[in-house]
């Protein structure tokens, strides 16, 4: 079992005691098969109990442990030490305010997620006694990939537009709206569209595709953005240039 001395350079910031963020170096002996989260846990247990970060599942499903690892947004529980031979620099997720150390303030994301009405607005209401809605595997497939979002916000940290225009509703929230829009049981697209097509909704996206590149769950938010934007464009034309179409 091979061990390696790992150099971690971790951003530290405590609003009560620091006037600005700084980097702290830790040198710890780690097992080669560990992920960055294991190394952080090892630091917290044996070197510095004051280091703060979020984590829970250690299996890339709870979405807590997003951080910048050598400049890229990653899940710490899925970033292997073996992929980072040199010094490993760990910083909080870009584009979010720092609450403390690697912990960011995510109020903005939570608010945006809620805004797109990410719940089923049934096309046809049905009581539980009437049983399930039928949905074929093909219908399921149309939206399934967008349900896989773990809300880790890596895509927001990668998104150049979100960095520039914080009002941009962003990749994950739009994917979630798209997820319900594409669901054969749902009839809520119009209600969601109001939010999405509003000024800072979908229009700010410039399709760099960075969001899809970093997404650990292969949700492909860029494809959702693209489809939503096309639909929104059509809606916009219908609304403004071809009002007779609505009749």
């Amino acid at each position: 079992m091979s061990e390696r001395q790992v150099e971690l350079e971790v951003l530290r910031y405590n609003p009560e005691t620091d006037s600005e963020p700084r980097f702290q170096r830790y040198s710890v002996s780690c097992r080669e098969e560990w992920v960055v989260l294991d190394a952080l846990n090892h630091v917290k247990e044996t070197v510095d109990p004051t280091l703060s970060y979020r984590w829970s599942c250690h299996m890339a499903v709870c979405g807590s442990c997003g951080m910048m690892i050598n400049g890229e947004p990653k899940l710490a529980c899925k970033s292997f030490l073996r992929d980072h031979p040199g010094v490993i620099r760990v910083e909080p997720l870009a584009h979010f305010p720092i609450e403390r150390d690697l912990v960011t303030v995510i109020d903005d994301f939570m608010a945006k997620l809620a805004r797109v009405k990410p719940y089923l607005i049934p096309k046809q209401a049905k009581s539980v006694e009437e049983g399930e809605y039928l949905q074929t595997p093909a219908e399921l497939k149309r939206y399934k990939q967008y349900t896989l979002c773990i809300n880790c916000m890596l895509c927001y940290a990668a998104c150049p537009e979100y960095g520039l225009i914080p009002k941009f509703i962003g990749p994950a929230a739009i994917s979630m709206a798209h997820r319900y829009n594409q669901d054969s049981r749902d009839g809520g697209r119009a209600a969601r569209q109001e939010e999405i097509a509003a000024g800072e909704g979908v229009w700010d996206c410039s399709f760099t595709g960075a969001c899809s590149e970093v997404c650990p769950e292969h949700v492909d938010p860029a494809s959702a953005l693209q489809q939503v934007k096309i639909k929104s464009t059509v809606d916009w034309y219908k609304e403004h240039l071809m009002p007779w179409l609505k009749k």
Binding site: S52, M59, R100, A114, L134, L140
Partner: protein, 580 residues
């Protein structure tokens, strides 16, 4: 009107039920993590509920009661199996992406210990989808106010009833008081007491400890479920659905060794037979591993002894479609691709059958306090939970807790005594302040935690002895004493994880002692509680629930309470092919 609930999969289900049934209530949903981080997201396999025509409520009942080695309360199991289909359909109506049959109806899969296919699943991310569906659905109710990243520390109990709680707002480090006419605790499990576990970092038994310290007994704590197939490197779970889909377990000689432990005869490869061989219940399969290890038949790995989970015959297509997470996790954390190689696995701590003592209404003996989900013990799991029953349980009893709480509010006990509640909250706050400020203490959080985990692994694992358990009780009592001498390194307010981990350790120590003391007192072997010195089940003396009552300065007192038996008399648990 303020009405307060708490947390997780069960907490969200309860909150939605409250919001739907009584829109006038103000509901506070308090959680130490954002709701979608709750550990329900890690559940892979699925949720049990009778839906297919060849199945019946009777079958689900019998499988559950037998699987629980007759320690389940049968009235509660009846309620569970009756309500299960409606809850799962309700989730479907809320958008849960259940896997489907070609005709569009919901698909079900086989699961260990279940006689029929009745486990609803969403690929192998069932819990994830249930949790996100519940969380997203909850967003449409304005009466649910969330308090994310608030760590609950104490229940406020005055005048013989629970009237709220105190919680640390993690962002500011400030203590907040929540006055409420009723509280539902849904704090999840406590697997983190053990070193090898499928449980996430947040599963530290806080909910159980809250109620326990407020005077509500913890029931059946000696029953700790090991899941047979965790990765030896990280404890990460490979769902039982691996075996449900046809995966098999091999020892180092390539033998499907379960046939040597009363679970045979060997079934054809890729054709799993209900309740036989690899579809035996978790306790039996984990115990068989223990014996194989004793015989020297296990496979050594760099992380310790293991057995092999072979899924190669399922083929890449099935694995990708039905078990994508399993493949991903095996490759990432073990470097083994199940499509081409058998994956080394070992039993790891998975689930607490025991928990806060509630009745079938999800009510605790403390007026105004309700509990649901893994932190509660109704009990439908008895001595051994069947896989896929607990997601169902958190839905069914999450809703039930909400209904009971509404009923309780309607029979309206008057307003509380604000002065008394304020004093209680101040005392809770003073306790936390003292912990933060204490200096000169000799003990560290990480140090005590490690000793606790080692003690539990060594003496409260798959097989136990009176001698070992007695030692564990002594050690845990000592650790609880030493806990009073902990010194923190972090004395600041904002997101102080040093403080939170210290509080979590306090919860775990209390729960761990309840496990060890209850296990020592139960002089029989039943389900997940196996005593080498008392290898037989003893219905004469122990067909009873244990109830551990908290004592701040001494080990808990253990009392007993009869199991509710309505129609199924204790029998033999038969997992050989002969039961069909």
């Amino acid at each position: 009107m303020l009405r307060l609930s708490g947390r997780g999969g069960a907490g969200l289900r309860a909150a939605i039920a409250l919001a739907e049934s009584s829109p006038g209530l103000r509901i506070a949903l308090i959680s130490k993590v954002y709701p979608m981080r709750s550990h329900t997201c890690a559940a892979e396999g699925g949720a049990a509920g009778v839906i297919k025509s060849d199945d019946s409520l009777e079958h689900h009942f019998n499988d559950t009661v037998g699987g629980g080695d007759w320690l389940c309360d049968q009235d509660a199991v009846d309620y569970l199996v009756q309500q299960a289909p409606r809850e799962l359909i309700q989730l479907e109506h809320w958008g849960c992406p259940w896997s489907r049959e070609p005709n569009g109806s919901v698909a079900v899969r086989p699961f260990g210990g279940m006689k029929k296919q009745r486990t609803w699943f969403a690929a192998d991310k069932s819990g994830f989808h249930i949790l996100h569906t519940l969380f997203q659905t909850s967003l449409q109710f304005p009466s649910i106010q969330r308090f994310d990243e608030y760590y609950a520390t104490d229940l406020l109990v005055d005048d013989g009833r629970c009237q709220g709680l105190t919680a640390i707002e993690m962002r500011s480090g400030q203590m907040r008081h929540f006055h409420a006419r009723a509280v539902i605790v849904a704090g999840g499990g406590a697997g983190r007491m053990f070193p090898f576990t499928t449980n996430g970092a947040i599963k530290t038994g806080d909910g159980m400890a809250l109620a326990y310290r407020a005077g509500v007994p913890l029931k059946d704590m000696e029953f700790v479920q090991y899941h047979p197939t965790g990765l030896p490197s990280t404890g990460t779970l490979l769902t039982e659905a691996c075996r449900g889909e046809g995966g098999v377990l091999l020892n180092k000689n390539g033998r499907r060794f379960l046939q040597d432990y009363g679970m045979g005869p060997e079934t054809p490869l890729g054709k799993p037979v209900f309740k036989t061989m690899e579809l035996g219940p978790r306790d039996r399969v984990s115990q068989a591993f223990w014996h194989e290890q004793k015989k020297g038949n296990t496979v050594p790995t760099q992380w310790g002894e293991a057995m092999l989970l072979d899924m190669r015959h399922l083929g890449e297509k099935t694995i990708n479609e039905r078990l994508p997470l399993v493949r991903d996790v095996s490759i990432s954390y073990m470097g083994v691709d199940p499509v081409t190689d058998a994956v080394p696995v070992r039993p790891v701590v998975h689930y607490m059958m025991g928990g806060i003592h509630t009745d079938i209404r999800a009510a605790t003996p403390l007026a105004g306090l309700f509990a649901a989900g893994e932190c509660a013990c109704v009990s439908i799991n008895g001595a051994n939970r069947l896989g896929s029953n607990s997601l169902t349980e958190l839905l069914v009893f999450g809703r039930r807790a909400a209904m009971s709480a509404v009923g309780y509010l309607e029979c309206g006990r008057g307003a509380g005594n604000d002065g008394a509640l304020g004093a209680l909250a101040d005392a809770a706050q003073a306790r936390i302040r003292a912990l933060i400020q204490r200096s000169g203490g000799k003990e560290s959080v990480a140090g005590l935690r490690k000793e606790m985990m080692q003690t539990m692994e060594q003496h409260a694992g798959i097989y136990r002895t009176g001698e070992g358990l007695a030692e564990a009780c002594g050690k845990l009592a000592d650790l609880r004493r030493r806990y009073a001498a902990i010194e923190l390194h972090d004395r600041t307010n904002v997101y102080n994880t040093d403080l939170l981990q210290a509080l979590e350790l306090g919860s775990m120590l209390d729960c761990a002692e309840a496990v060890a003391v209850s296990a020592l007192a139960r002089k029989e072997s039943r389900g997940a509680h196996q005593r080498l010195d008392f290898p037989e089940r003893d219905d004469k003396n122990f067909l009873r629930h244990s109830l551990a009552a908290f004592n701040p300065s001494a080990p808990p007192r253990v009392d007993y309470r009869d199991v509710v038996i309505t129609k199924s008399q204790p029998g033999v648990r038969d997992y050989s092919g002969g039961h069909q």
